[in-house]
């Protein structure tokens, strides 16, 4: 059973992405990396060091970068676009939607510093709407890796998609969920802990925190199932519906607005399946987040292990 541990265990999703991109670049000369003066932050600078001819900086001009990515793809390249999630999803949204998504072009939009990870950066830099925005674009695959290993697997898999993808990366290191890339496949949710009393469906750093919450709940005799829905679009309907069937209670957890993100996607699935389960969305309420150190912000919005466990208890007591 023992398999070699992934080299990306313990890395943040952005670090793992940056390292895998270099590996991929060695094997595939069509891969190019684009940034808008954030190559060091989003780790495409490592690709630029090894492949300076295939790395393009557009300066602080995200619209031009996203449009140029479409142009590079039209001319046969596989562009990896990097910037912060807030800029990828808002400043360059129309180019992403009209030039990239409508074109159904193989552009990979790799957006770091998502959710609250920029901490004191505040609402100008926090990104709590990006999944909602990208989920609304036809043709777009939306990926939120749980940790470094998840990001490595997703980055590798994304190369083979024929259409565009949005990959949401974290600045901070996520709690470790995976030890191996084996078994991580786009479009298939991973049940990372079995349980029968309720299901916690999470993405990104909230997967590891949900596992910690499940451990806390287990100490109280509550067996929580934890599912990593790393591919929010297309969502794994089967896994979500089965878990709801089998546990009767579903809690979604995401570092994103509760409007339009993972929680909304799961709600859509459950409603259309006709499943009247107990259901709650945990995320950023419909308001702009406050500022502060990242871990404190996470706790403030109840997205740490204690907050998730508390919400789970409340939901079960309903």
């Amino acid at each position: 059973m023992s398999e070699p541990e992934s080299a990306y265990v313990g890395l943040s999703s952005r670090d793992a992405f940056g390292k895998v991109l270099v590996e991929l670049g060695r094997a595939n000369p069509r891969i190019v990396a684009l940034t808008a003066d954030l190559g060091s932050s989003v780790r495409t600078a490592w690709f630029a060091e090894e492949f300076p001819d295939r790395a393009f900086d557009f300066g602080i001009a995200e619209q031009d970068m996203m449009g140029a990515a479409a142009g590079l793809a039209l001319a046969g390249k596989i562009p990896f676009v990097s910037t912060y999630a807030v800029f990828a999803s808002l400043r360059a949204a129309e180019q992403a939607r009209t030039d990239v998504a409508y074109g159904n072009l193989p552009v990979r939009i790799c957006a770091s510093h998502s959710g609250l990870t920029i901490g004191p950066g505040g609402p100008t830099h926090q990104s709590i709407e990006d999944v909602a925005i990208y989920r609304g674009m036809p043709n777009m695959t939306v990926i939120v890796p749980a940790d470094g290993v998840g990001a490595a697997a997703a980055t590798r898999a994304a190369v083979h998609l024929s259409g565009p993808a949005y990959m949401r990366l974290s600045r901070a290191k996520e709690p470790t969920v995976y030890r191996s890339e084996n078994g991580i496949h786009l479009g298939i949710a991973n049940t990372v802990r079995q349980g029968t009393d309720l299901t916690i469906i999470a993405c990104g750093p909230c997967v590891g925190r949900s596992l910690e919450a499940a451990s806390l709940l287990a100490g109280e005799g509550i067996q929580a199932r934890v599912i990593d829905v790393h591919t929010i679009k297309p969502i794994d309907v089967q896994t979500v519906v089965s878990a709801a069937d089998e546990t009767g209670t579903v809690l979604t957890v995401e570092e994103h607005s509760i409007t339009g993100g993972l929680g909304s996607a799961v709600a859509e699935v459950l409603a259309e399946a006709g499943q009247g389960v107990r259901f709650r969305r945990l995320g950023i309420p419909d308001q702009f987040p406050t500022t502060g150190p990242y871990e404190e912000l996470v706790a403030y919005y109840g997205l740490d292990a204690a907050g998730i466990a508390q919400m789970a208890r409340g939901l079960l007591a309903d």
Partner: protein
């Protein structure tokens, strides 16, 4: 090429008469010579093999000029010009804005302004990276030079030394609501393009010879992208449409269309093309 330009204008006028709901007349008519010169002299394209890897690429950034572009592609043989009669009909490949999924020969979808030059920059970066021989041409409206993204791309093209990129601004001096000088003044446009690091030329956009000369390849060693400011007349070739913001979009009555076609016929006769206007 002057003959082709008149043919394109006749195609546009007939669409103005026949297409329900109207078409973009003014900004299509102003493109006639530019598209004629590009598709019948400059661009290395193969209508039988629209995805030929070594072809030159034209991005019509002013996607609302799609009627003129489709007329040029049809006349060049990418499809039968007769098909243009389905313009804007439900499910037709030919409609208001340029769409590369639907029409052979169209290189990029466009319609929202300020998108085309960034796309052209990406194509030119790819060509440069590969050491390819093909060039990228981008056809812009003057109005879309009000978009910040156009100037982002202007900076990037010069910064990345894209000598394989030529942009042409259809300087017809009108945007939807009125004269650009009143809506948002673009002048001094030539100076701005020069200041952004482009090899910049100004020509009469209805003068075929001047366009041909301006479109000659840049001299060896000059790494700058090329900008051609083509001074044109919105609605060019049809007296009652010229230089009017109201000619941006609309329909022609059969009577107006007859008059317009008659004017085009006379223009053809004046340059010895009595048999033109098919």
């Amino acid at each position: 090429m002057r003959r082709v330009a008149l043919d394109l204008r006749a195609d546009i006028v007939r669409a103005g008469r026949d297409v329900d709901g109207g078409v973009h007349l003014g900004g299509s008519l102003s493109l006639a010579e530019i598209l004629s010169v590009l598709y019948f002299s400059i661009l290395r394209v193969d209508p039988q093999n629209p995805h030929w890897p070594q072809r030159d690429r034209l991005v019509l950034s002013k996607g609302h000029g799609n009627l003129a572009l489709c007329a040029a592609l049809g006349r060049r043989g990418f499809f039968s010009i007769e098909e243009l009669s389905s313009f804007n009909v439900l499910g037709s490949p030919y409609s208001m804005h340029a769409d590369f999924h639907r029409v052979p020969g169209i290189e990029a979808s466009a319609g929202s302004l300020g998108h085309g030059l960034p796309i052209a920059v990406g194509m030119a970066l790819s060509g440069k990276l590969d050491g390819a021989g093909w060039r990228v041409y981008c056809l812009l409206s003057d109005g879309e030079m009000m978009e910040g993204s156009s100037w982002e791309a202007m900076m990037a093209a010069a910064h990345h030394e894209l000598r394989n990129l030529t942009a042409i601004i259809d300087r017809n001096r009108f945007s939807l609501d009125g004269p650009t000088a009143e809506i948002m003044d673009l002048e001094p446009l030539y100076d701005k393009c020069v200041a952004f690091g482009w090899r910049t030329r100004q020509v009469d956009g209805h003068d075929v010879a001047a366009l041909l000369k301006a479109l000659a390849p840049p001299p060896e060693g000059d790494q700058r992208p090329t900008m051609i400011i083509a001074h044109t007349i919105k609605g060019s070739g049809v007296s009652f449409l010229e230089n009017r913001a109201s000619s941006h979009f609309g329909s022609l009555t059969p009577l107006q269309a007859d008059q317009a076609l008659d004017e085009l016929r006379q223009a053809g006769a004046s340059i010895g093309l009595e048999e033109a206007m098919g």
